[in-house]
Symmetry: C2
Subunit: 367 residues, 2 copies
């Protein structure tokens, strides 16, 4: 605890487990900033509270919150959710929180560098210094030692199958606003070293208009080793069509770290959905934050769900597709309950349920 290790997870025999492996709990961070969340973040807070309550049915949940919002947050959450003060610049713990790795008898955290999805070259706000401290603070409370990874990366930019394979996108990881001095091969090496993995599968672009520069966790995820869920569009006029088809081709042509071909399961795309004038008006104007304009397309996707121990917590985004998406998830995860939470307010802030959560894997038994 409190220790920053000089070694790497791969050197120490640690690996990032898949999200479908057992969890000890889940972290979230409370939304607050009025220049990203409409109406003083009150509708978003209600949505976050509903997500926390749904995940708490599956595993223990901790909510990180600023001092200013501590009492309000505590009052809005069920008593079984632990509430702790951790300052942040916004509420995306998948991206500014730690990535946990496990090894014989232990758990540690990887603390990536964070630059608010692109720094001063297309990032979403300035400054982001409080975000940068979140991962270390989470690790202190979990009592886990820390690796400080030498690259800019957000947790939402990667998925793993827990058996050596990493899934990511070129749009994000090769974006010059993240690690401009590193080649694709150098980035791969760091990923494999800090995730304890053996092979990176590269998709191209993320979901259309995704302001994270195409995080994979909004596009595709592992449902099991050898099985990938992919957001899909049959509408040839929608730019998402070409993106999803390209991802499908890459996935179907690939083999994973164990040499398996991948089964691809399609989830329908919601919408297209757009910000309404009323929604845009509720957001404060900030010179250094991403504007929220009426008519802007929202990067909505059902892939952006949380995979808990006993439940899938999925975003409800579009009555025309919610039930179809839920049915596919129920078939894909027959041992888990699929729980839908109204999530448009989270989507309006720039992400969804996977982006606002971070699983803490269970500590494996000693060898």
């Amino acid at each position: 605890m409190g220790l920053t290790l000089k070694s790497t997870p791969a050197e120490d025999g640690f690996r990032m487990p898949a999200e479908f492996e057992p969890h000890a709990g889940c972290w979230m961070a409370w939304p607050e900033r009025p220049d990203n969340w409409r109406l003083g973040a009150k509708p978003a807070q209600e949505a976050y509270a509903a997500v926390a309550a749904a995940i708490a049915e599956s595993e223990p949940v901790t909510m990180a919150v600023s001092d200013a919002q501590f009492e309000n947050c505590r009052a809005l959450l069920p008593a079984e959710v632990r509430v702790v003060e951790i300052s942040s610049d916004d509420a995306w713990i998948r991206d500014h929180g730690p990535t946990f790795v496990i090894g014989a008898g232990g758990r540690r955290g990887v603390d990536w560098h964070f630059n608010a999805w692109g720094g001063t070259d297309g990032g979403l706000y300035f400054p982001w210094d409080r975000d940068e401290r979140v991962a270390a603070k989470v690790l202190e409370i979990e009592g886990d030692d820390r690796y400080r990874a030498p690259i800019v990366l957000e947790g939402g930019a990667i998925h793993v199958d827990g058996e050596g394979t990493v899934l990511t996108t070129e749009e994000c990881l090769l974006n010059p606003n993240r690690n401009p001095d590193l080649s694709k091969e150098q980035i791969e090496r760091v990923l494999l070293e800090y995730l304890g993995a053996e092979k990176v599968l590269w998709l191209g672009a993320g979901v259309f208009e995704d302001e994270t520069d195409g995080h994979v966790d909004n596009l595709a995820c592992f449902a099991a080793p050898g099985k990938v869920l992919l957001t899909w569009s049959d509408d040839e006029d929608d730019p998402q069509h070409a993106i999803s088809h390209d991802a499908r081709e890459r996935l179907e042509a690939a083999t994973d770290a164990r040499g398996r071909s991948l089964e691809v399961v399609f989830l329908p795309s919601p919408g297209p959905l757009h910000i309404s004038a009323e929604e845009a008006e509720g957001v404060d104007t900030g010179e250094d934050t991403q504007p929220r304009r009426a008519g802007d397309r929202l990067a909505a996707s059902y892939v952006n769900f949380y995979l808990g121990n006993s439940g899938i917590v999925m975003p409800l985004l579009d009555p025309r597709h919610d039930e179809e998406a839920a049915a596919i998830l129920r078939r894909t995860f027959p041992d888990r309950e699929v729980v839908g939470v109204p999530a448009r307010e989270i989507l309006l802030g720039g992400g969804n349920i996977h982006c606002i959560t971070q699983q803490v894997p269970a500590v494996p038994a000693p060898d």
Copy 2:
């Protein structure tokens, strides 16, 4: 966890254990405000770090710290000290933190109301809203349910023997700047109810010029059931002489909750000590904070030590008396190591080692 109980500790069979009973750990809070701590709190931070390191030899230590000081605090503390973000208005967790109580198989926390040692009528700073939230935040992290006590009280204003007896002072608890609408009997009732105790022993005044309005933890403490350590002065010209003699008379005339007479052990008073001009100059001027003036007497006392599982961490305050005080503490606690830490910088801020610590009792085995 996260639950505020409607009952009281006494109703639930819970009691505050004595400080000499087994601990699960110890909390502290990091000094920072430049209008109380000289030179930007750097000398005080060094002293707090030394106290934390000394207590960490005895039991696990957690340091609460603001976001702004997180990285600096983490860098100055040994890796085994857990560092967590908790905002506060100053660094006296004995007084703004929870008082822990234990019962069959469980531990809970009492969250007293806090008004910065006197509110707008002689309190030491304004505002104190962040202090008011500290206890609840500590309890969230400890996973302990919370009692919200209906009076203003600081943890430093009470000591218990763990066997039904509470020791306190009239100067503090009957001060109209704490609970002006309650009689002495009403305050006694609340104390007994929330500490799970049966008898209150009232001392009169606290240490001379103690800005807390005479906290007992700077004047006297239980070393064991039936045994009290008292700060002492043989100098008839020192106002502390009469205070200590009055306390001795009251203690020697009293019996505790079990009907025992009390043995009183004297600890010499340091000094008298006063703030130097150089020390006073290093403190920022704040309109709403207690001024630090050259020549002001410091309320120095060796009673203000921490009683850890395996060690006594005592303040070193005056080379003319440090060794004598240490020798008395060694005789009083023959099974514990007595460790001295230079503590003048803590004293300059208005208290000492007991004031800046809060023990977390071990959870007793289920009945």
